[in-house]
Structure formats: structure tokens, C-alpha cells
């Protein structure tokens, strides 16, 4: 039995979709952020496995993942700062707090 590309893509895809699901359904902002991390992580996996399986001679995919991790870290930090600020004002971090502006 060979480990094929597909076999690695399936968990990544599921991870991604879980992220989507989580984003849409969760109420807690941090939970939503966690879902986002799942999505970003899935993208990283994709890059890496594509690189390794299809273009083993180069390392572009790997480098992309490398930078993506850095970016994800930066994003997370910023979002958490914002969440904490929201918490300061609204005293909770329910996503439904963020519907003051609409229509």
C-alpha cells in the first residue's frame, strides 16, 4: 500500500471544513478564532503535501507554509487583542454582541 497524495489531502480537507463549520456555528469569539486556525492549518498542510508529492525538487510550498505560520501567528495576536477589547466593553465575547450595526 502506497501513501498517496489523496490520503493526505483528505484529513486536510476535513480540517478545513471543520474550520468552516466551526466559524459559522460557534458563538464564542475565541472558538471562532480557533476554527480559523484550523482552516489556516489545513492550507499549510496542502502546500506541504503538494510540494512533497508533486514537486519534490523545490521548496516553494514549504516556504509558503513557513511564512503562513508566521502570518497566522500575527493575525491571532491581533484578533485576540481585539477580542479582549470587546470583552472589556461588552463584558462577554459572544459573537452576537457584534451585531449592533446592520442593514
Amino acid at each position: 500500500m502506497d501513501l498517496t497524495l489523496l490520503m493526505y489531502l483528505i484529513p486536510s480537507l476535513i480540517m478545513f471544513c471543520c474550520g468552516v463549520y466551526g466559524f459559522i456555528t460557534r458563538k464564542n469569539m475565541i472558538a471562532i478564532l480557533i476554527s480559523l486556525e484550523l482552516m489556516l492549518n489545513a492550507v499549510d498542510i496542502n502546500f506541504v503535501v503538494f510540494n512533497r508529492f508533486l514537486f519534490p525538487g523545490e521548496m516553494e510550498g514549504m516556504f509558503f507554509s513557513l511564512f503562513a505560520i508566521a502570518i497566522a501567528a500575527a493575525e491571532t495576536a491581533l484578533v485576540i487583542a481585539i477580542i479582549i477589547n470587546v470583552f472589556r466593553m461588552a463584558k462577554n465575547i459572544d459573537i452576537r454582541e457584534l451585531t449592533k450595526m446592520k442593514f
Binding site: 492550507v43 502546500f47 510540494n51 491581533l78 481585539i82 466593553m89 454582541e97 450595526m101 442593514f103
Partner: protein, 489 residues
């Protein structure tokens, strides 16, 4: 290791220098002169903007083709610089308000960094570079949006912006991973060569994800839903910045990606995708805008539909489309910033942002209403103001392909200008025709020098940019020297 390549990107270097100057001034200058920081920034950035005009170096492609400067990129960056300068001047008053004193240094630093990110979006010829540019352009913006700490809306807007931005960048990168799977490279030129003739499902999905990712920045329908809330929540100078500068940069970058990378699937796929998006964007943007009574929200939806018009230049996918796109961005920058200038001035003074507050403004503040009217007319595309010319050229650009489908598209867009005219006229009506409401019109006030200066620049721009034809001519030249972009066609 040829580090001299950095010298081929003087605009970025210059911008970093400006950033450092501001940073150092903010950090090390004494309290006494701290109040001059906004003016200092304006002056330095102004010098930088002017200097840019004189240091237009030759086109170059550096870092192994990762970064490219052409006359077109120089031009669009110059346009963004002008917009940035106007935003900086407009915000002097705001930045000098008591509340802002402690963080105005950061305000300018963040603004400059965002601009830096946009430079990269424009010049990047490698997807990693593009993503970094995109993130650099959007992440600090979230901080800027959340700048007004004691306004809840500000935070709500920041949160909305951030969540959507990360989600969209996840989608975008997902798309990129597919592209990578297809081509094995992230260099634009390599990808284009690799996917030539390819029209697999994966490519289409990748394309859709890429469009969605950048469409988020441009707020194309259906990727636009964050726009209104964020515009409303953000501090007005930031809203102005968000609505024009970041949109302009994204539009250019978008065009480069679609044309250079995906040029080979133009007719098969993305022409139609963009077609659908443009129709949706223009129509829905307009429909949403009709009902808005908050000026900032109103302009948000107006800018959504304007984005649709800008995209007409993209679907044209030729030199003329590119030139018209840049021209449109320039005019749009001036017009929209004029509008935001007025809104900002009034908000600074009275805190009022509803359209009904503007009733009878003409009788108390004739010049403000005049500037606002010009902005509205320009946005609506009424001659002899610049907006007319930009609309005309963007339509002409789209039609220059001779494609019958585009005629239909342009027709739809043109018919939608009627709706847009309707709501722009609503503002004019409020100011000029309506009688002041129960609380009376906004009282007469003298806006700050800086605000007036910015307004004058915008108004002059609105009046002259159209009639003075050399600007458009220059942009066409610039686009034509970048015709390597269109090689694939």
C-alpha cells in the same frame, strides 16, 4: 547575493524612511513639539510624494522576478500616495484632538505600514509576496479601525473586519495551494506558463477562491458584507482611507493577477466569473445604497458599486482597461476623499453623520455643501467633473475589446448609474433643497485649515483631473509600457 536590488525599489525604501522618521519623531522628540507630529508627517510624506515624481526609475524585475516595477506600478503608487497625502492632511485635526494625542504616532505609523503593504500588493509578482502585502495592508488596518477605544462600534467593526479578513485569506490561500498544485510554482510568470491551456476543475476552483480572496478587499458582492459595518464603525479618516486607498491597490493587484497569471483562462472562465460579480456588485451595491441614511454606510455601499465599475477595467484585460482602471482609481480617490473630508469635518465638529442632519446645510455651510456636491456629482459621473471622464474611459476600456457580451455588461452598468445618481442626488437634495429639520441645520462653523486644505486639493482635483487630459494620456503610456502583462493574450 545582490543586495543592490533593494535600490531598484526606491518607493518602498522611501516609504520605510518616512515611516522611520515618523517613528523616531514620535519616540524621541520632546513633548513640546509632539503636537507638530501630524504636520510633520504630512510634510515628510508630501516631500516623499513629490520626490516620487522625480525618481521614476526604469522598469525592473528584481529578486528573481518576485518584485516588479513598471511605469504602471509607479503611476498607481503615485496615485495612492496622493490619496494618502490627502488622508493625512484631513486627519491632522482629528489626530490633534485631545483624545488622540497618546496614540497619534501609532496612527501614522500604522497608516504608513498599510501603504507599504499595498505597494507590495501592486508590485508583487510572486504569490507569497502578494499574500504578505495583502496581510500587511489589512492587519494594521484592523488596529486603525479599532482606534476609537471608547466607541463600541469601532471595536465591533474591527472584529468584523478581522474575522472576515482572516477567513478570506484562508480561502485565498486555499486557492493558492490549488494553484501551486497545478503549476508547482508561485511566481506569476511561471504559473502562467504552466497552466497555459489548462482548464481543469481545480483551476476553476482555485480561480474562484483567488477572486473571492481579493474580492474581499475590493468588497465585490457577495464578498462585501463586511464593508458597510466596518465603514460605519471605523473612525472617519480611516474609513476614507479604507474606501479608496486599499481598494485602489487591491484593484491593481487583482488586475495583475487575473491578467498575468490567469490570462489563459480569460475567455473560458474568469471573464464570466467577473461578469457575474460585476453585475451583482453594481446592482446590489446600488440597491443597498438607496436605503442608507447614515452617510458613512451610504458611502460604503456606494463604494461597493464603484468597485463594480472599477472591475470593468479588469474584464477589459488590455492596456486601455488598465489605464482606465488607474484613472478611475485616481478620480475615485479624489471624489470619495472629498466626501469623507466633508463628513469628517462635520463629524469632528458636531458628531452628526446622518443624512437627515445634512438638511439645509447649504444655508449654513455653503462651501462644505459645495464640496460635497462636487464629490457626489463626480461619483455619479457628471461632467465636467472628473467622475464623468473616468466613467467614460472605464466603459470605453471595457468596450474596446469589441466583445458583444461586454456591451451588455456595460449597458447594465450604465443603467445602474441611474440608481446611483438617484442616491447621490439624495445627498445633494438634503443639502440644497430640504428645509432644516426640527433641530435646525448644522450650525455654521469654520473647518480647520488642514481640512480645508485637503478639501481644496480634492475639489481642484475633481474639477481638473478630467479636463486636463495629460493625466489620462500619461496613464495610458504607463499602461502601454506594461504591456508585458498582456502577453498571454
Amino acid at each position: 547575493m545582490d543586495y543592490s536590488q533593494f535600490l531598484s525599489m526606491p518607493q518602498e525604501i522611501g516609504l520605510v524612511a518616512v515611516f522611520l522618521l515618523v517613528f523616531l519623531y514620535d519616540t524621541f522628540m520632546s513633548k513640546k513639539v509632539q503636537n507638530a507630529l501630524p504636520v510633520f508627517t504630512c510634510v515628510v510624506f508630501g516631500l516623499f510624494t513629490i520626490a516620487n515624481v522625480f525618481f521614476c526609475e526604469e522598469s525592473c524585475s528584481i529578486f528573481g522576478g518576485m518584485f516588479e516595477n513598471t511605469q504602471a506600478t509607479v503611476a498607481i503608487k503615485a496615485i495612492l500616495n496622493i490619496g494618502m497625502l490627502i488622508v493625512l492632511i484631513q486627519s491632522v485635526k482629528w489626530a490633534n484632538s485631545e483624545y488622540m494625542t497618546v496614540r497619534r504616532g501609532e496612527f501614522y505609523e500604522l497608516l504608513l505600514i498599510t501603504l507599504f503593504g499595498m505597494y507590495f500588493m501592486i508590485s508583487a509578482r510572486h504569490f507569497l509576496m502578494f499574500v504578505i502585502g495583502l496581510e500587511t495592508a489589512s492587519l494594521p488596518l484592523a488596529a486603525l479601525i479599532a482606534f476609537e477605544k471608547n466607541r463600541y462600534e469601532s471595536h465591533e467593526a474591527a472584529a468584523k473586519y478581522m474575522f472576515t479578513a482572516i477567513f478570506s485569506s484562508a480561502i485565498f490561500m486555499m486557492g493558492l495551494s490549488f494553484v501551486y498544485a497545478l503549476s508547482g510554482s508561485l511566481y506569476f510568470s511561471d504559473i502562467a506558463a504552466m497552466i497555459f491551456g489548462e482548464s481543469s476543475t481545480l483551476l476553476i476552483v482555485a480561480l474562484a477562491f483567488v477572486i473571492a480572496g481579493v474580492g474581499f478587499k475590493l468588497s465585490l458582492v457577495p464578498f462585501h458584507l463586511w464593508t458597510a459595518d466596518v465603514y460605519q464603525g471605523a473612525p472617519t479618516p480611516v474609513t476614507g482611507y479604507l474606501s479608496v486607498i486599499s481598494k485602489g491597490a487591491a484593484a491593481f493587484g487583482f488586475m495583475v493577477i487575473l491578467v498575468q497569471v490567469f490570462g489563459s483562462v480569460y475567455t473560458v472562465a474568469w471573464k464570466w466569473m467577473m461578469y457575474a460579480l460585476i453585475v451583482l456588485t453594481i446592482i446590489l451595491g446600488n440597491l443597498f445604497a438607496i436605503r442608507q441614511r447614515n452617510m458613512k454606510r451610504f458611502l460604503a455601499f456606494s463604494s461597493v458599486s464603484q468597485a463594480g465599475y472599477i472591475m470593468l477595467g479588469v474584464v477589459a484585460a488590455n492596456e486601455m482597461g488598465l489605464a482606465s482602471l488607474m484613472y478611475y482609481v485616481l478620480v475615485y480617490v479624489l471624489s470619495n476623499l472629498a466626501a469623507f473630508g466633508v463628513i469628517g469635518a462635520i463629524e469632528n465638529k458636531t458628531g452628526k453623520v446622518m443624512m437627515s442632519d445634512y438638511d439645509g446645510l447649504r444655508s449654513t455651510n455653503p462651501w462644505l455643501s459645495f464640496a460635497m456636491m462636487l464629490a457626489m456629482f463626480s461619483l455619479a459621473g457628471i461632467p465636467p467633473f472628473a467622475g464623468f471622464f473616468s466613467k467614460f474611459f472605464i466603459f470605453a476600456g471595457a468596450l474596446s475589446t469589441g466583445d458583444v457580451a461586454l456591451y451588455v455588461l456595460v449597458l447594465i452598468a450604465l443603467l445602474n448609474t441611474i440608481i446611483s445618481l438617484y442616491y447621490y442626488l439624495l445627498v445633494v437634495k438634503a443639502m440644497f433643497i430640504n428645509k432644516p429639520g426640527e433641530n435646525g441645520a448644522i450650525e455654521t462653523f469654520k473647518s480647520a485649515c488642514s481640512e480645508r486644505l485637503a478639501m481644496i486639493v480634492c475639489v481642484l482635483g475633481i474639477m481638473l483631473v478630467g479636463i486636463v487630459s495629460c493625466i489620462y494620456t500619461y496613464l495610458v503610456d504607463a499602461a502601454e509600457t506594461s504591456s508585458a502583462l498582456f502577453n498571454i493574450f
